[in-house]
């Protein structure tokens, strides 16, 4: 299982409103940056975009809280299948954690934000969806397609 911080060390790209392309790394330098006439934010702060971005970077992505036992169960399920998911513990992210949590609550339409599972960049859902997919034999094909399982 790989644990990554959701904010500090990843690099990500986004296009500004004017269509100019720029790159931000943790070291605060940029290249290919063309100054634009009006002010535009250097970092897109929409948390859902961030979620989608993080979800697309690995085959299996789980948004979790270190104290959440249902998250522990989901992680157990994947481990038991021999899958190695990328886990983002939102309570260990002091900068972005809370807002990603709130975004997930809105996304899932439930009171609890976590666990939320993405496979191959696509949203699968919470524990019930993951389990249901496993039982009705749609989970394994999804995992194989995303390259998380080879059997």
């Amino acid at each position: 299982m790989q644990y990554q911080a959701a904010t500090t060390t990843d690099s990500w790209r986004t296009t500004s409103n004017t269509g100019h392309y720029y790159n931000y790394n943790g070291y605060n330098y940029s290249y290919n940056y063309v100054p634009v006439k009006h002010h535009c934010p250097t970092i897109t702060t929409d948390p859902l975009e961030r979620v989608a971005k993080l979800a697309s970077q690995n085959a299996v992505v789980i948004f979790s809280l270190s104290t959440c036992c249902m998250c522990y169960a989901v992680k157990s399920l994947f481990s038991g299948m021999g899958v190695n998911p990328t886990v983002y513990e939102l309570d260990e992210d002091p900068v972005r954690g809370k807002e990603i949590e709130r975004a997930l609550v809105r996304l899932m339409g439930s009171a609890t934000a976590v666990p939320v599972v993405f496979i191959g960049g696509k949203l699968v859902g919470s524990m019930d969806r993951v389990m249901g997919a496993h039982i009705n034999e749609t989970l394994v094909p999804l995992l194989k397609e995303a390259g998380a399982l080879w059997l």
Binding site: T67, C68, C69, M70, Y72, A73, V74, S76, L77, G80, M81, T112, M127, D128, M131, G132, H134, I135, N136, E137, L139
Partner: protein, 343 residues
């Protein structure tokens, strides 16, 4: 130390005597005789005093005192016996309440709304309501199964059989719906499995049956199966087992976290605020417990649905009959065990 004082003393002594003993009634007459006789030793010669202090060796007084002691002792023994009787009645009452609950679960409705359990009126209502719903559900289930059995035996056409199988399937959905409502009302009752019979409770897993066990039990009774079906059943057994393991591990983590929450700060210097804070956290974890029970029920429901998907109509019919008969045998075992002769 006036004379009057002594007289009061004496009088009160006499008065005390008469209160203490309910057997000796001849105090006054004795005292009066003593007063009149006028033969006293000792310097403090007061009429009333003579009655109690002057004749210490008097056998009547000795007898009276002995009777006092005896009466007091008997009174204490009677009180003790009464209290013991109260205690055993209380225990008996608790047992009767438990038996009543059990009898209700087995479908014998005793008309009495009386429940002495004031503390859990809300929770108790949810539990009681579910117990009654479950009992009714079992009756309906039995009726559906009987219809299914005769249909299988008389070999009716598949499309008619399918209707009956679908009916059993929807009826299973119904119990999961009822369990879902009851879980939100009384998670501990649902987890305890008290609504099931004792033998069934032996095999309880997070408030219900273990899907993987049911599938294993079904194993040989489903033949003949196509290769594809066989693979489907094997996959289902494996995936349900994996899901069960995951939920079990989550439950263990939850239990440990609850222990940790309740173990914070046993020192006497802990303030009420901290205590209430920890309790609030613990309450949140009970909500998570509801979630786990819900997931376990979902797993059971999804397993049955997948089974139904894999099998043909006739195979599904046979599968439902086997499952139902197996559960019936477990329940029968409970009753037989309860009714066994004890020596």
């Amino acid at each position: 130390m006036g004379k009057g004082h002594f007289e009061n003393w004496g009088e009160s002594a006499i008065a005390d005597n008469s209160q203490q003993t309910d057997t000796s009634t001849d105090i006054d007459t004795d005292d009066k005789n003593q007063f009149n006789s006028g033969q006293h030793g000792g310097q403090i010669v007061v009429d009333s005093m003579e009655g109690s202090m002057g004749k210490i060796g008097d056998p009547k007084i000795l007898r009276r005192l002995a009777q006092n002691r005896e009466a007091a002792r008997k009174s204490r023994l009677r009180k003790k016996a009464y209290v013991q009787q109260l205690e055993s009645s209380r225990i008996k009452l608790t047992h009767l309440e438990q038996e009543l609950k059990r009898a209700r679960q087995q479908g014998m409705f005793i008309a009495a709304g009386a429940s002495g359990d004031h503390n859990s009126v809300v929770g108790g209502n949810g539990a009681l309501a579910f117990d009654m719903d479950y009992s009714r559900w079992l009756d309906d289930h039995q009726r559906l199964i009987n219809d299914l059995r005769s249909a299988v035996n008389t070999q009716i056409p598949d499309n008619e059989l399918r209707i009956l199988v679908e009916a059993v399937m929807s009826h299973y959905d119904e119990i999961f719906r009822l369990k879902s409502i009851a879980t939100k009302s009384d998670v501990f009752h649902m987890l305890s499995g008290m609504w099931k019979t004792p033998a069934e409770r032996c095999f309880l897993w997070i408030g219900g049956f273990r899907s993987s066990e049911i599938l294993k039990m079904l194993g040989n009774h489903l033949e003949p199966l196509t290769d594809q079906q066989l693979m489907g059943i094997c996959n289902l057994q494996q995936s349900s087992q994996q899901a069960e393991d995951a939920l079990s591990q989550g439950m263990e983590a939850l239990q440990q976290s609850l222990v940790d929450t309740l173990s914070v700060g046993f020192t006497s210097s802990g303030n009420v605020g901290d205590y209430m804070g920890q309790m609030a956290i613990a309450m949140g974890k009970i909500t998570t417990l509801e979630n786990f029970l819900h997931q376990a029920d979902l797993l059971r429901q999804q397993t049955l649905q997948q089974l139904h998907r894999i099998l043909t109509t006739r195979q599904s019919a046979r599968a439902f009959l086997v499952i139902s008969d197996y559960m019936s045998r477990l329940r029968a075992l409970s009753s037989l065990w309860l009714a066994r002769p004890k020596d």
